[in-house]
């Protein structure tokens, strides 16, 4: 009834923009509904044609309207108002697609969010109003009881001129200025100077010019289908990409001096900004979402098996990984190879105890710790990832395999077919290993079609238990960590995580997948067929630089997607 599902899987795999689909797995489950195994952007592989990037063509792809995320909201209000209360943390969570919190196509504004914005701006304005003197020197006089209303209004006007351009990240149009002054006047009828200026602050922080990254454009000579993003827009694109926040005064100065116009200008600023500490928080943020370790903080483990896994451990495991990736990007040779194979990590005292390190660090601060290179190899052996992709007491080779397929190979396995009853627990022998419990997936042809791509990757990590720590034995028997990578450019057998991660480090598909994730994060959307020029440029540069991660990030700012927008008449294209 079925073709040999394994070979069906193999035949279906082909490179297309670095994206692969395992949709052929569905040949084993003909009742699977349409759409299973589709690519993350909802298209089937046949719909995503590589396209051609010809010399001189500019293909920016879509530029959906980008709303500030909670992360960006926090940072922007910190930089705009000096607010450190992290008001974004109290906003509703973002809809997440493709793994990141900033996919503009899926962010919605619910009633809950609208109310939360209103509440947040009230607190922010309340805190800002006593500090008006830092914006305008007339504040003290205008705030004094019995102050002259005409002078107070002039002071409000000066405040709008000082605050507005920073809040809107560009010069105010005369009409915008006039509307805010009208609000002040209207509010002044019922409120004092502070109250009325507070109303202006609230209104500006609720306005689209603050909450969304609106851009003006310039025509491009000889190319009516595209527009160049203007300097103010480029400044915001740079600062939100590299810092998750509004431009700093230096960047605004560069715009005003007319020195943020060309791609080379953008690159020069990007290089300056990359070395700023704020970039580190963005790199951490990117990795938190790419590696899906945000939920690690609250995970539980079986207290009988792992009595030392307390609620304090989860956050520490996440921080361990965040420190590791930050060091890879900023502290060393900074390559993808490092990320995937470096035999070190970061721990503090409690983690050293948890990991059983003798002569490890003490105290609360995280320090670099060299690890046994026969056991540990880069980010995929980080306990945060391995424990999150596990249950309370057991490893979970399926979750681990799906994670690597999705996050490092950009391949989207379809869901299990309907009606499947997972039989992992029906093995009568309580001493069965996890591999044995999963054996039916390789024996039953209906399961094997897809699972041949999944478990053999996850099983290579069987030396790492449910808490992500090393184990030589499982149920008294030596761990079998043999595995296999199916259907990639580094296909083959592996024995253990070291061999698997070293293979992945040599894979061009992995390199392109890492680049693709940065592309999605940088542009706040999934890739489309039109992004062929951007992705080719990035992939080329990343490869030529030997997988240099800094180069990857900086090259994002040099793509058509970053520097241009489609002209409105072209926007109707799919």
């Amino acid at each position: 009834m079925f073709e040999d599902p394994t070979s069906s899987c193999l035949r279906s795999l082909g490179l297309a923009l670095g994206l692969l689909s395992l949709s052929a797995c569905n040949q084993a489950s003909p009742d699977a509904p349409l759409g299973d195994g589709r690519l993350p952007n909802g298209k089937t592989p046949e719909q995503v044609t590589p396209g051609t990037c010809t010399e001189g063509s500019i293909l920016p792809g879509p530029s959906p309207l980008r709303r500030l995320t909670r992360f960006e909201y926090n940072n922007t209000l910190r930089d705009l108002l000096g607010d450190t209360t992290a008001p974004g943390n109290r906003l509703p969570l973002e809809e997440q697609s493709l793994g990141f919190d900033n996919d503009a196509n899926v962010l919605k504004v619910s009633r809950l969010l609208a109310e939360a914005y209103v509440g947040a701006t009230q607190l922010l304005a309340d805190a800002a109003v006593p500090e008006l003197g830092t914006w305008v020197s007339c504040a003290a006089q205008a705030q004094a009881p019995g102050s002259d209303p005409v002078q107070a209004e002039q002071c409000a006007s000066q405040f709008i001129d000082a605050f507005g351009p920073r809040a809107y990240r560009r010069a105010l149009a005369p009409e915008e200025r006039a509307r805010m002054l009208a609000l002040y006047t209207s509010a002044r009828q019922s409120f004092d100077f502070n109250g009325a200026v507070g109303a202006v602050i609230e209104a500006m922080l609720l306005s689209p010019q603050f909450l969304y990254r609106l851009e003006s454009t310039l025509p491009v000579a000889g190319n009516p289908n595209v527009l160049a993003v203007d300097s103010w827009g480029l400044a915001s694109r740079l600062s939100y990409f590299l810092w998750g926040s509004m431009p700093d005064p230096a960047l605004f100065d560069v715009v005003r001096a007319g020195q943020l116009v060309t791609a080379a200008d953008v690159r020069a600023q990007a290089e300056r900004m990359f070395d700023d500490p704020r970039t580190r928080s963005v790199v951490r943020h990117f990795n938190r979402y790419w590696l899906d370790i945000g939920g690690v903080d609250g995970q539980t483990k079986d207290a009988a098996l792992f009595p030392d896994y307390t609620s304090a451990i989860g956050p520490l495991l996440r921080q361990q990984t965040e420190n590791f990736v930050e060091h890879v990007y900023f502290g060393g040779a900074g390559t993808l190879n490092d990320l995937l194979t470096a035999p070190y990590t970061f721990m503090n005292g409690p983690l050293a105890t948890f990991h059983g390190l003798s002569n490890g660090p003490t105290g609360e601060a995280f320090v670099k710790v060299d690890l046994d290179p026969t056991r540990h190899s880069g980010v995929l052996t980080e306990p945060s990832i391995l424990s999150w992709n596990a249950t309370a007491d057991r490893t979970h080779p399926i979750l681990r395999g799906v994670f690597i397929r999705r996050k490092f190979l950009c391949q989207e396995p379809p869901p299990p077919p309907p009606g499947v009853v997972d039989s992992r627990g029906t093995i009568a022998d309580p001493n069965a290993t996890e591999r044995e419990r999963l054996a039916i997936h390789s024996q039953d042809p209906i399961c094997a079609a897809c699972h041949a791509s999944i478990e053999p990757i996850g099983l290579a990590f069987e030396n790492f238990d449910a808490t992500g720590r090393w184990r030589d034995l499982e149920g008294g028997r030596p761990v079998d960590a043999t595995g296999h990578i199916l259907g990639t450019d580094v296909e083959g057998d592996v024995n253990g995580a070291i061999e698997l991660t070293q293979k992945l480090a040599q894979s061009e598909q992995v390199r392109q997948c890492v680049a693709l994730n940065w592309f999605r994060f940088a542009n706040g959307r999934g890739e489309t067929e039109q992004d062929v020029c951007s992705t080719q440029r990035v992939n080329q540069r990343f490869a030529d630089s030997g997988g240099n991660l800094r180069e990857l990030v900086l090259t994002m700012t040099q793509t058509d997607a970053f520097l241009y927008r489609m002209a409105p008449s072209s926007e109707a294209m799919p």
Partner: protein, 468 residues
């Protein structure tokens, strides 16, 4: 002492390090009676009570006759309310097989919308992806109809939501305000409290200050609306649509400013509401249970109690007439340490191999919570009746059978007859594989919304028989 206006929120919220937030003014307000509302037509309320993962059918559906049956293990906690039960046995979530993505998500998407999930970008932990449901949920449709004069048309209270550490996805959302517009539940009790009960009760001067604050908010919202209109005029079509949606939500907030802030003879501002991260994860915060492990899941009973207390009072104060209490989410990663269940819920459903008794115990725990909710509703007096008398609770889960995710014979139950809109009386109605869309139609009709279909028409075969 500052009063409970938004002004004071900052000082309250900034004290994140405080143990239980000491709020003297709230203590003073508890027990304060609000002026009795002028009774016109009897108010009907609609509640949704959701728990994930289905039931063990042999321990949920009674055997024997259609009435006078013994409540099985899972439903035993509801003994005190058996006369208000209407068990709906034999309803299928027909959209599920037609949906895209994994089973849990399909169930979640279909449950209150009656629609199949379509293709989309939201990837699931175990493969596949889908989009949000493309239609409103029945609670939102009802709320739009009966909640016009309330501050909130609906309220969604989440307990340990989300369990995957990410935002709304088709796997963790049951409420939708419109096609593709998830209405995510409130996830922190204290923030829920500050949102829902702002301006409720209080002295005359507090009420004046609150009104003044609302006056400013109205000016602010009007000004922001002008900015939205100005910007909308110069951006492209797609961007304009987004901005207009955003503006519509802001305008809803503006419209709600004039709604009454709490009325009802039994309206009492809930006390002791805390932020989730203030709740002790070793013992559940009130020493109510001891476990052998520390786990943030330990917070579940306390968060649940606080959210249910607020749901009850938001109805009693007529801040809304439609509310949802959503316990965790589908394929939940929450565990139940106080039940000595240290793996996560999904593990017992099938991820670690199906284990029947843990699943049954988890379902029974949720039914105990439902009983608490019913008790609290029954303690709210309204004339010579109680709040429970005017309420119907739709009790539901996104699948029927934990290990197989079967969509057939989903565990639907109604508790309470909303002032006679249904004929409850402890009946076990048996249907022959009817679409649950029919139930959604009947619910909608019971609250005065006309129509013969709900969700996708192809699944509907008319209102559900036997309910009245």
């Amino acid at each position: 002492m500052r009063i409970h206006q938004p002004f004071s929120r900052r000082s309250l919220l900034a004290t994140a390090g405080a143990a239980t937030l000491a709020l003297p003014w709230l203590e003073a307000l508890s027990g304060q009676r609000i002026a009795k509302a002028q009774a016109a037509t009897p108010i009907k309320r609609f509640l949704v009570f959701f728990w994930p993962g289905g039931v063990i059918k042999d321990q949920f559906w009674p055997t024997g006759g259609d009435t006078g049956f013994e409540l099985p293990y899972i439903l035993k906690p509801m003994e005190a309310f058996r006369d208000r039960l209407l068990l709906l046995d034999g309803l299928d979530l027909k959209p599920m097989p037609d949906g895209v993505g994994q089973e849990h998500a399909k169930g979640m998407g279909a449950l209150l919308t009656g629609r199949a999930l379509g293709p989309g970008e939201f990837a699931f932990f175990n493969g596949g992806s889908a989009d949000f449901a493309q239609g409103p949920s029945v609670d939102h449709v009802i709320g739009q109809h009966i909640g016009a004069q309330n501050k909130f048309k609906t309220l969604e209270y989440g307990v340990l939501w989300p369990t995957y550490g990410s935002g709304p996805t088709p796997q963790n959302i049951i409420n939708y305000s419109a096609a593709g517009q998830p209405a995510q539940p409130m996830r922190d009790p204290y923030q829920a409290f500050m949102r829902v009960f702002a301006g409720v009760g209080g002295t005359a001067s507090e009420a004046d200050a609150f009104a003044l604050r609302n006056k400013k908010t109205q000016l602010v919202l009007d000004a922001a609306a002008k900015e939205f209109e100005a910007v909308s005029a110069v951006v492209g079509m797609e961007d304009r649509a987004r901005l207009q949606e955003h503006l519509a939500r802001l305008q809803e907030v503006g419209a709600s400013l004039g709604a009454g802030s709490g009325s009802g003879e039994s309206c009492k501002v809930p006390t002791g509401i805390t932020s989730a991260d203030q709740i002790n994860y070793e013992t559940g915060g009130d020493g109510s249970h001891q476990t052998i492990e520390t786990s943030t899941s330990n917070r579940m009973p306390i968060i649940g109690k606080q959210m249910m207390d607020m749901a009850v009072m938001s109805l009693a104060c007529d801040l809304t007439r439609v509310a949802t209490v959503q316990w965790t989410d589908a394929a939940s990663r929450a565990s139940f340490p106080w039940l000595n269940l240290h793996e996560n819920h999904h593990f017992y459903q099938h991820d670690g191999g199906f284990q029947q008794q843990p699943c049954a115990d988890i379902c029974k725990f949720f039914m105990e919570q439902l009983a608490y909710l019913c008790t609290q509703l029954s303690l709210v007096k309204e004339g010579d009746k109680t709040l429970l008398d005017s309420t119907t609770i739709l009790v539901a889960s996104e699948i029927s059978d934990p290990p197989s995710h079967d969509y057939r014979r989903a565990p639907f139950m109604l508790v309470g007859d909303a002032g006679g809109a249904f004929k409850t009386g402890g009946r076990h109605l048996k249907y022959d594989a009817l679409p649950h869309n029919n139930l959604l139609v009947s619910l909608m009709n019971a609250y005065g919304v006309p129509g013969e279909t709900f969700g996708e028409e192809r699944y509907c075969t008319g209102p559900l028989t036997g309910l009245i």
